[in-house]
């Protein structure tokens, strides 16, 4: 870990056209303070990768409502009507990926693998345009690895070294996106002295910055 970062410094890292992965499941475990800063910075043309589209006033939904998102890659968009509206108006590109596939694609990128060979989505719209690989007479869709410029990690308890563990169900995609982005910023719920080495979920070399202070809950 490089250290603690202020909200202002964090905003200097943001750029139009970035790809950003955001942790959380229906906003449980989403770092709302970091999202608010991205809204304030008002950067545009973002590719957002998140389990879902959040809610209009919560999670990545705030970025959608603020028209900052060019493309959303998610498994579920039903909880944020704005996503459907902008999509049907042709103002937002949406790529739907099955939840397990989305997680594996991100993991594959973080682990230096080229892609994922999954049976999920065979004989559905999901396989369109994708290569089908047959292994031992079974078919699999080749889903490409998925990385991004920036990971916004939430739901964590951090220690002074930058190690993370996660609070209850807030874990979800957070440890996965922390492996797959050029820059990883975490807004922890609290910071403790040291996490027992056996209980660390995201070891500190995966983390670049912790954002603390007013955004902590």
């Amino acid at each position: 870990m490089r250290g603690i970062i202020s909200g202002d410094k964090f905003k200097t890292l943001l750029k139009d056209g970035m790809s950003i992965m955001v942790g959380g499941f229906l906003t449980n475990g989403t770092p709302e303070g970091l999202i608010d800063l991205v809204v304030e910075a008002n950067i545009k043309d973002l590719t957002i990768i998140c389990n879902d589209g959040g809610y209009p006033d919560k999670g990545v939904g705030k970025l959608v409502v603020n028209k900052q998102v060019k493309k959303l890659i998610a498994s579920h968009i039903g909880t944020n009507p704005m996503v459907g509206t902008l999509m049907s108006e042709g103002k937002l590109e949406v790529e739907l990926s099955p939840q397990g596939t989305l997680a594996e694609r991100i993991r594959a990128y973080g682990a230096g693998l080229g892609g994922v060979l999954t049976p999920t989505g065979l004989d559905t719209l999901v396989q369109e345009g994708k290569e089908i690989i047959t292994i031992k007479d079974k078919k699999y869709i080749l889903e490409e690895a998925l990385g991004a410029d920036l990971a916004l990690v939430g739901g964590a308890i951090a220690d002074n070294y930058g190690n993370l563990k996660y609070n209850k169900t807030m874990r979800n995609f957070n440890p996965i996106i922390a492996t797959a982005c050029e820059l990883v910023v975490c807004e922890p719920r609290k910071i403790i002295d040291e996490i027992n080495p056996e209980n660390v979920i995201t070891p500190h070399p995966f983390v670049d910055y912790l954002l603390v202070g007013e955004y902590n809950d």
Binding site: P98, G100, Y166, M170, R171, P175
Partner: protein, 215 residues
């Protein structure tokens, strides 16, 4: 019993001691209420719980796969999405119970998109239907009289040929190699009524009254 209660209580009989089970949103969620006390069934929520407990109003640190406040039972575990779908895709889930827009006699399911109308997305459903050892569909038999159990799904599929059992308020149907077998019918309906409410061709031998139903 309401239609939903009929469906949920019948499906509960399909769960075995020691099973790891994932219940979808809606009617499937109700199945948990009918598991007999003597059976130990562990519920999974795909957002990251092994040992899901009941709803907890106002809880926001533990949520279920519908994003509602929930609880974890003793002996449970919080897991990340990768581990959750390792369970799901890897065949470690004994039974998943899911809803349907359409389901057909070949065991194919449509549940995630009505093109031009509604695109909620597939969430974890495609992985669940593909990976669970046994896939049970919990659905009303018709949508206001329009059959939901079809010869072939017309909506885009969630998965092809993965459904094992279909339970409605009228009947229990099993997908086999040779087609859709009508196994049980609810005593409130005649065989004729059920056949008329079903577009799929039903293979009918030895039909029993629906198990677990209190009239």
């Amino acid at each position: 019993m309401t239609d939903k209660e009929i469906i949920a209580s019948r499906i509960a009989l399909e769960l075995n001691d020691g099973d790891l089970v994932n219940l979808g949103i809606g009617i499937p969620t109700l199945v948990a209420n009918y598991v007999p006390k003597e059976k130990t069934v562990t519920f999974q929520a795909e957002n990251g719980i092994i040992g899901l407990g009941g709803y907890v109003e106002g809880e926001n640190e533990i949520v279920n796969a519908g994003g509602m406040g929930a609880s974890i039972l003793e002996g449970g575990a919080f897991i990340d999405t990768i581990t959750s779908f390792t369970f799901i895709r890897g065949g470690h889930i004994a039974v998943t119970v899911l809803g349907a827009l359409e389901v057909d006699q070949e065991g194919s399911l449509a549940s995630w998109i009505i093109p031009g109308k509604k695109v909620p997305g597939m969430g974890g459903a495609m992985d669940l239907v593909t990976g669970a050892k046994k896939v049970i569909i919990a659905t009303r038999h018709t949508n206001r009289g329009v059959p939901k159990i079809l010869k072939k799904c017309r909506l885009p599929l969630t998965a092809a040929h993965q459904v094992n059992l279909i339970v409605t308020e009228m009947a229990v149907m099993k997908v086999e190699e040779d087609g859709l077998h009508l196994l049980e019918i609810h005593p409130s309906y005649t065989l004729d009524e059920i056949v008329k409410a079903t577009e799929a061709e039903l293979i009918i031998n030895d039909v029993l009254p629906m198990k677990g139903v209190n009239l």
